[in-house]
């Protein structure tokens, strides 16, 4: 079913439609919030709160942007508030979480695994103002315009933040892997291109 039609049903109080919507987006939202907060428990709680807000604020949705942008915008606002509050409980490592929560999309190759681990570390160290646009762009695959809508920032600002975020990631990766020769600068850069 078309997302807009689904949303229309949700707006009319159709609970089954809302559950379908949740099924469509729950994994993406939990993953996004996890990438931003690096705490699975927080990510799940924020994702639940995101859907609660989607339910109660569904009447405020206007189809001027894709539904996904609107839902991700709510999730982003919640993640921001949570980061500002700084009341994060003890972080739950991914290692402590049962394997079935992991989609297992990354390679089990030991070399790649190390690289991914370094990248994860570098991403974690990135300031939120760069991390959020980079995650939305490179992990969730949103366009710069969609990210601008979500963050309520001009497209130029979003472009600059993505660019700076990637540059910082590159620098951190080079440092972690022992210089630029160990990890080509262009690799992250090319990957991030729209």
């Amino acid at each position: 079913m078309d997302e807009q039609a689904l949303m229309k049903l949700v707006q009319n109080g159709d609970q089954a439609a809302f559950e379908t919507l949740m099924t469509l987006y729950k994994d993406r939202i939990v993953n996004y919030l996890y990438q931003v907060s690096r705490d699975y428990q927080t990510a799940v709680e924020l994702a639940q709160e995101t859907f609660v807000r989607v339910y109660f604020k569904s009447n405020k949705y206007r189809p001027i942007a894709p539904l996904s942008s609107w839902i991700f915008a709510i999730a982003t606002n919640l993640a921001r508030s949570e980061a500002r509050r700084g009341s994060r409980k003890s972080a739950v490592s991914l290692d402590d979480i049962a394997n079935d929560y992991l989609a297992g999309t990354y390679s089990e190759d030991p070399v790649d695994s190390g690289l991914v681990s370094n990248l994860r570390q570098a991403l974690e160290e990135l300031p939120p103002r760069y991390k959020v646009p980079v995650v939305l762009k490179d992990l969730e695959g949103f366009s710069q315009e969609e990210i601008a809508f979500m963050l309520k920032k001009p497209v130029g600002t979003v472009k600059a933040r993505i660019s700076r975020g990637r540059a910082q990631l590159r620098k951190k990766l080079e440092k972690a892997l022992g210089g630029p020769e160990a990890y080509s600068v262009s690799e992250v850069n090319q990957n991030g291109k729209a």
Binding site: Q15, E19, M22, T23, K26, D27, I29, V30, N31, Y34, Q35, Y40, A43, V44, A47, Q48, E49, F51, V52, Y55, F56, L94, I97, D100, Y101, L102, A103, G104, T105, Y106, S107, D112, L115, V116, L119, R120, L123, D138, L139, S184, E187, V188, Q190, N191, G192
Partner: protein, 138 residues
Amino acid sequence: MEKLKILGNIERVKAPAGFEKQVLARIGQEAGKREKGRMLVILRTALAGAAALAVIAIGINVIHKHAGQTLPVETAGIESRAPDYGRYSVPERSGGQGYLPLLETVDYTDEIRGGSPGARTVYILEQVSEGQTSGIKY
């Protein structure tokens, strides 16, 4: 080429089992809270309105009482013209309670309109008709 997709290959997590149920439970709780909050707002507004009405009523009552005691029209200038009661001996009543004499200065100068400063003319109205007399009017 494999490394080009490295950012996209960062591990992804999924929502835990029973996620939807938890969300629906939270929605139920939230709806209850919102209803309660709405009722509280109505109650608070009603109480505030009642309190405001009570304050207005008390205010009006106080103003009326105050106005009844010292009406500005009646008291204007009386203090400045008040006689010095100390000059008079206040006779005591048999009960031992004193009383204040009410003194009023009466000026008849303006009572007769067009009166001249000289000798005043007194008109004596006497009946000249043949009817029954009604007495002389001064």
